[in-house]
């Protein structure tokens, strides 16, 4: 007990030491640091707002469902990619890996006549093998990831053509199509509004609230500053409101997309892995300062290997989702996916030089691109303009990041 009291004294003394001029600097720093992240969320909200004004259909139940289904595989890739980028690497091969894993799955299920889950497992297995291959060259031989994955991009595309014999395979059985196109609904009835979807959303909200409360209590036990209780309640209520509104729109459409559940699980798991696991922290350390990480005892090779293994696995997951959605495997599948995934990470605040980035940021970055594509399609804007707008957004996002860094750097 006395230990805690001493700590409290020390903490308060520190706070007093800081003095009034640095309190401002403190707030400033908090702001500049968070701007990088919160800027993305604000931009996302603004873009959604803009399109919902321009196009009345934009926030309709059908369209929201559509956006989720259409961009799910890019978001899955972005989750793996941001971890690669945090550690200071890049992966140019994921588009080809999506094609290869989808092709293998199609061969197993469509040609081989095996059940759907064997196809999915085969795809994940191939994804892991790809990860082992690329991880080996990057981590143990020490070839820059740019080269290894550029080679992989060609290699795995070639393998896709080989596996498919240069032709498309389709269709998948109905069960397989459900991975990306299926919905959970109707278990609890409802009249035009699916009650099951709302119940799942409510459970998620309660889980969020309980978890937030517990982490707040834990911080209090460690005598750290927390937001005021009314503010805390307000925050939870705001999140609950948004989630519920979102779920309500889904419930009015076709219910809860299976792929949304998959996505939610991946986002939560990988957020925790990057923020709270030793492995995740080591990724940040390697990307932030490789030499310092090495001299601090980080097993750099092992971490790099695991990062690429994981990327291969997630590319396999994305391969299953994409082949399911497109109901078949094509030789040209997944073309340019790597660039969308990389762009999502950078728009989402990851640093080009490594060491900075978050899973949620990358997902929001991917959503910004998805929402923009979808919105512009609804407005009937030409594909050429769409491409130009996306390119400009990427450039501005990174320029904003660089500007921020420069300003933060010159502050002292």
């Amino acid at each position: 007990m006395t230990g805690i009291v001493n700590l409290r004294e020390r903490v308060t003394r520190n706070v007093r030491d800081v003095g009034s001029s640095t309190v401002i600097a403190n707030l400033r720093e908090l702001f500049t640091r968070n701007l990088r992240q919160s800027g993305i969320y604000i931009a996302f909200v603004l873009i959604v707002g803009l399109f919902s004004i321009l196009s009345p259909n934009f926030l309709s139940p059908g369209n929201i469902t559509n956006i989720i289904l259409q961009y799910s595989y890019i978001l899955i890739l972005a989750i793996g990619m941001v971890i690669v980028i945090i550690a200071g690497h890049i992966d140019l091969s994921v588009g080809s890996v999506v094609a290869l894993t989808g092709a293998v799955s199609a061969v197993v299920v469509i040609k081989g006549g095996h059940p759907w889950w064997m196809g999915a497992l085969a795809a994940l297995g191939v994804g892991l093998l790809v990860g082992v291959w690329q991880g080996f060259w990057v981590a143990f031989v020490g070839i820059p990831a740019f080269i290894v994955t550029l080679a992989g991009m060609l290699l795995f595309r070639g393998m896709t053509l080989k596996v498919l014999g240069n032709i498309s395979l389709s269709p998948f059985p109905a069960e397989y199509q459900k991975v990306a196109g299926g919905f959970l609904n109707g278990f609890l009835g409802g009249n035009g509004v699916d009650v099951f979807t709302l119940v799942i959303a409510a459970i998620a909200i309660v889980g969020y609230a309980v978890n937030s409360y517990r982490s707040r209590q834990a911080r209090l036990n460690y005598l750290q500053s927390v937001e005021a209780f009314p503010l805390f309640v307000l925050r939870v209520l705001a999140v609950a409101g948004v989630v519920m509104a979102f779920a309500y729109q889904l419930a009015r459409s076709r219910g809860l997309p299976i792929v949304l559940i998959l996505l939610a699980v991946l986002i939560i798991v990988y957020s925790i892995v990057t923020q709270r696991s030793v492995f995740g922290r080591h990724g940040y350390a390697i990307g932030g300062n490789l030499n310092a990480a090495q001299l601090s005892g980080v097993k750099v090779r092992r971490v790099n290997f695991l990062i690429f293994l994981n990327m291969g696995f997630l590319a396999g997951v994305a391969g299953v989702v994409y082949s399911s959605r497109s109901n078949g495997a094509q030789p040209g599948a997944g073309n340019m996916f790597e660039l969308d995934a990389i762009a999502a990470c950078f728009i989402g605040g990851a640093a080009v030089t490594g060491g900075v980035g978050t899973v949620v940021g990358a997902v929001v970055g991917g959503l910004i691109m998805g929402v923009m594509s979808n919105g512009m399609q609804l407005l009937g804007i030409d594909l050429s303009v769409q491409q130009m707008v996306k390119g400009t957004v990427l450039l501005i996002a990174v320029a904003f990041d660089v500007y921020n860094k420069r300003r933060a750097g010159s502050a002292r």
Partner: protein, 511 residues
């Protein structure tokens, strides 16, 4: 009529939230060597950035008068046109280009758009002669040592017809011979009517060479002392810098020496790329619990290489030798192994090898011992913050919060973060490589106190330092290295700078 080449009058420079310079005035006489000293953060670098135009006219208040006229600089180019050249601590040379190409970079000796290489190289050779560098102008700069690169920078400044040369910590990375040569050169340039401003932490250099000294503290001019008319002691300068009389630059300490903790036997290391080159040659070193052991040597003596090689083979190719801990042999083939055996190595280059500058203080402190704040591979974030707060308090790390980025702290506080990181691994042996390089006098004292505290707690400590007074002031025994060999070990009672220097320069007898 005064003969001031430069007057800066009432310079005030404000960054958002911080007053970096407050009403600073400085007068530099033509042809003198003018030293500027002050603690880190006193405003020396900012003042020079104002002078050289990095902070252009309009971003500060006050007036700059150069050669009798009021000047307004919009960029570095403007100040260089007037003959003001600044040489930064981190040299701005391109390693793959030749000496001549570097000297005339941005000022290429061209006729009608094509570079005249003969002219370039002969002019470069003339400039090299002036700075006393005997190298071929076509040699790539990357092949030169830091000391010679410094001379290339000065030659480059001379090519720009420099009138006022500003050197920011020029000797920080140099060994004593190179430093002496550089200071000599400044005196020669003085004879050629080139005025120099010298920013340095090394007060003995100031005492030796400066004609006058301006002391800055907390963004204000404290005083300008004329070194020619009065006898100025180093203590007098320190007093001005820190605002207190530092009677003792080193905290008093009596070591309580216990059993042997680490013994390095017959340790030999080869250069990582040049296999036949022996960098450390059969070194034997022991250190006991509670003992502070020094390692002295000139650049290239192999001190850092020895330490890094023992610490998980982080340098070069190891060919022979054993490490014993408390009498039993241990293997330190990898950094995790070395850390596991209770060895910690705090690097001499904290920015490149010690810290993740874009990560916060908290995560830097826990970086080498994450296992202690995690279970089953999961980090307890609250425990981590608690640990960081404890080190912030006990080592007096000055930072707004432990969530501030390490890159934003001053050198001394960054060093304390590095020390925290290694103390948190709870080592038995701490190897501190240049623990006070580039940090100010006040912070140095704090670092010495921390070192003493660690020794009192029974840790075995090895201090590698290029500053002999530092070794004499803190260590119980001092090893000297020369050309990769241990040439002697001197107990505190017998150690003098002369004795150490003699051993440090002892060359291998030709058989």
């Amino acid at each position: 009529m005064n003969d001031n080449i430069l007057e800066m009058r009432s310079i005030t420079k404000t960054f958002p939230g911080v007053k970096a310079l407050q009403d600073v005035s400085i007068e530099v006489r033509r042809g003198e060597i003018h030293a500027i000293c002050g603690e880190n953060g006193a405003g020396k670098s900012t003042l020079m950035r104002v002078l050289s135009g990095v902070h252009p006219t309009g971003t500060y208040d006050g007036e700059i008068v150069f050669e009798g006229e009021s000047v307004r600089f919009g960029s570095i180019n403007d100040s260089e046109d007037k003959g003001i050249v600044i040489i930064h601590q981190e040299l701005a040379l391109i390693p793959f280009l030749s000496i001549a190409e570097n000297i005339f970079l941005g000022n290429e000796q061209a006729t009608r758009g094509l570079i005249n290489w003969n002219h370039t190289n002969t002019e470069a050779a003339k400039l090299l002669a002036r700075v006393g560098l005997k190298e071929n102008p076509t040699t790539p700069v990357g092949q030169l040592g830091v000391g010679k690169q410094q001379l290339v920078e000065i030659a480059k400044a001379l090519s720009k017809r420099v009138k006022l040369l500003i050197l920011d910590e020029p000797t920080a990375a140099l060994n004593d011979n190179d430093s002496a040569h550089l200071l000599d050169l400044l005196r020669q340039l003085q004879g050629q009517n080139i005025t120099s401003i010298l920013i340095t932490h090394k007060l003995n250099e100031i005492a030796e060479i400066a004609d006058s000294t301006t002391i800055l503290r907390d963004g204000k001019t404290i005083e300008t002392v004329d070194m020619r008319t009065e006898e100025v002691s180093v203590n007098r300068l320190i007093k001005g810098m820190v605002g207190r009389d530092l009677e003792h630059r080193f905290p008093p300490h009596t070591s309580n020496i216990g059993e042997e903790v680490l013994r390095i036997e017959n340790w030999t290391v080869h250069h990582p790329t040049q296999a036949e080159r022996i960098v450390v040659d059969g070194a034997n070193v022991t250190v006991h619990a509670g003992e502070i052991v020094g390692m002295a040597g000139l650049m290239g003596a192999g001190r850092t290489e020895l330490a890094m090689s023992v610490f998980g083979r982080s340098y070069g190719r190891h060919s022979s030798g054993q490490v014993f801990k408390r009498g039993t042999e241990i293997h330190t083939h990898s950094v995790p192994q070395a850390i596991g055996h209770g060895i910690a190595y705090a690097t001499e280059d904290r920015k490149r090898y010690g810290l993740n500058l874009i990560e916060d203080v908290r995560r830097n402190i826990s970086a080498a011992a994450l296992g202690k704040v995690s279970s089953g591979g999961w980090i307890n974030g609250n425990e981590e913050i608690k640990v960081a707060e404890e080190y912030r308090a006990s080592l007096n790390i000055k930072t707004p919060t432990v969530m501030s980025l390490a890159g934003k702290l001053s050198g001394g506080n960054q060093q304390k973060v590095v020390l925290s990181k290694w103390i948190f691994t709870d080592p038995d042996v701490l190897i501190l490589d240049e623990p006070t390089r580039g940090i100010d006098v006040g912070a140095k004292y704090e670092i010495y106190t921390i070192i003493n505290r660690l020794a009192d707690a029974g840790k075995a400590i090895i201090v590698i330092s290029s500053e002999l007074p530092e070794l004499l002031g803190t260590c119980d025994r001092i090893y000297t290295l020369s050309e990769g060999r241990v040439t002697g070990v001197v107990p505190k009672a017998e150690a003098t700078q002369e004795r150490l220097m003699e051993l440090m320069t002892k060359v291998k007898e030709q058989a």
